[in-house]
Symmetry: C2
Subunit: 305 residues, 2 copies
């Protein structure tokens, strides 16, 4: 067996990202379907997608994180209760052999959330572990991390341990409202004619502003304005989508900052464009942010397992 | 022409409800598709659905409210800006002749909402007008009305005038999350096995309680618990749907009460079962409610036009 080479896989609900690695170098990457879209057993999908690499190099160790370890994944890896550090993750990882090669699946994390309800994560714990190895300064003191996405996670890091975390349905709800709601089906002749009159950037800013005025009202009470601003104010559909995004990210950031009582800079871990939107929303709250690449962190985290 | 008989139609996005009336009596009712689901021009749908009544009685006056007067409806009826009373509605109604019979389409209402965004309604103004004729006491003093539905409307009535109103996307968002989200797809073997262990009523109550603890956090931060309570606490899918309903109606009620600064009893106008859920949520806020039947109010309102 080639002990220098190994395969890592970040397997989310909507995407599988496989990498063939040699030490710290990524030699090749490959994309596959998310756990939510599988039509065959996870092990077979992996076997097929990595066949070429195994043909070239023989059996290769495989390290996975994310939904691979969920009940609907390959094999269920337990949740590690918070507070949890990297050592706990490594100890709780599920290890077994398949096709003559060692397989490691990262455990998830669980905690009792700040709203008194149970919280779970799968995949983000590995990104956080990676961020800690790439940026050792995060291992000391208190840091609020934000991992934007389908289910945005906010995690409270204290001396290298995840103390607790919170899930916001921001990305999933945005996609549902964009694709399936009446909010963006309002586009009329008038609205279409005015398309481009105001930029989509302006929509995002206006969304952040509306989110900031909510007070005790809820996102529920502001969402209809995505439609009414097209109907009455003649805003374009593109503008309305940016406005919706600003409204939702603004509401997410405002609520999370309040729940964690955080005024310190926030560490964003994720895709660059989405990090940038969250950084803008944080700036609206008077909070600065730094941005780490989510895929780099995931890879670094998988290596530590 | 039979001047005693007339047809009323409450034409919403998802449903058309036609009634053949004689004075204050409803002789017959008929259901048709909502404006959102039409595949032929609205006038033709109406013509077809009312053919039998016209065959029997000759041309009949037709009075419509709701999306019939929207840009995507039959003919666009203008919005009356708030504050607006019944007389303003009657004066702004669109009147024309079709198939040899008079047609009246109720106008909608518009206002600048309490969040600084434009608000519109179509159909609910007619229900409110009907409530005022059925319950003249509502014409004096201040009353907060709530019309639960796909788009729940909260309207502030002062001396018989609608001063302003607010839309909550409660019903539409509930349906989107129920049918299209990951929140209720979590049902595992364990959760299925425990189905019925706790009643769905309990779910609704727990949802109201969680909504009450949100504070500065948002519905966005509580929604994931619909999934995690199935995954971790083993709650059933039915329980989770009731919990989601409680979470959303609780958030709607809490925010609306705060925005209107209302402590007075609320008048619910709508379907009985949904009114009951809103009444429960209002009771959680220490506010009593009375319940009026939405269809009765719509019919009474259409008669006044």
């Amino acid at each position: 067996m080639d002990l220098e080479r190994y395969i890592t896989g970040d397997w989310g609900t909507s995407r599988l990202r496989l990498s063939l690695c040699l030490g710290e170098r990524v030699l090749e990457t490959r994309e596959g379907p998310g756990i939510g879209a599988l039509r065959e057993p996870p092990a077979e999908v992996l076997h097929r997608l990595t066949a070429g690499w195994r043909d070239a190099h023989g059996p290769l160790p495989l390290v996975l994180c994310g939904m691979a370890g969920s009940r609907n994944g390959w094999r269920e890896a337990p949740y590690v209760p918070c507070p949890a550090d990297l050592r706990a993750l490594r100890e709780a990882a599920l290890r077994f052999e398949a096709q003559g090669a060692p397989v490691t699946i990262a455990p998830g994390l669980s905690c009792q959330g700040r709203l008194g309800t149970p919280e779970v994560m799968r995949g983000e714990e590995t990104q956080i572990a990676g961020a800690l190895t790439l940026h050792p300064a995060l291992g000391a003191g208190r840091h609020l991390l934000c991992l934007p996405g389908t289910h945005t996670k906010w995690a409270w890091l204290e001396d290298g341990q995840v103390r607790d975390f919170l899930t916001a349905l921001t990305g999933e709800l945005f996609a549902l409202l964009r694709d399936g709601s009446t909010l963006t089906r309002a586009a009329s002749a008038a609205a279409a004619a005015s398309a481009g009159a105001v930029s989509a950037d302006d929509g995002f800013e206006r969304g952040l502003e509306t989110a900031a005025t909510l007070g005790k009202a809820s996102l529920l009470h502001a969402l209809f304005s995505v439609r009414s601003r097209q109907l009455i104010d003649g805003c374009s559909r593109d503008w309305a989508l940016s406005y919706l995004s600003g409204l939702m990210i603004g509401t997410d950031v405002h609520g999370a900052i309040a729940l964690f009582g955080a005024r310190e800079p926030v560490v964003l871990i994720g895709d660059g464009a989405l990090n940038e939107r969250y950084a803008l929303a944080l700036r609206h709250e008077g909070i600065s942010a730094s941005s780490l690449d989510g895929e780099h962190c995931a890879l670094a985290g998988l290596r530590t397992l």
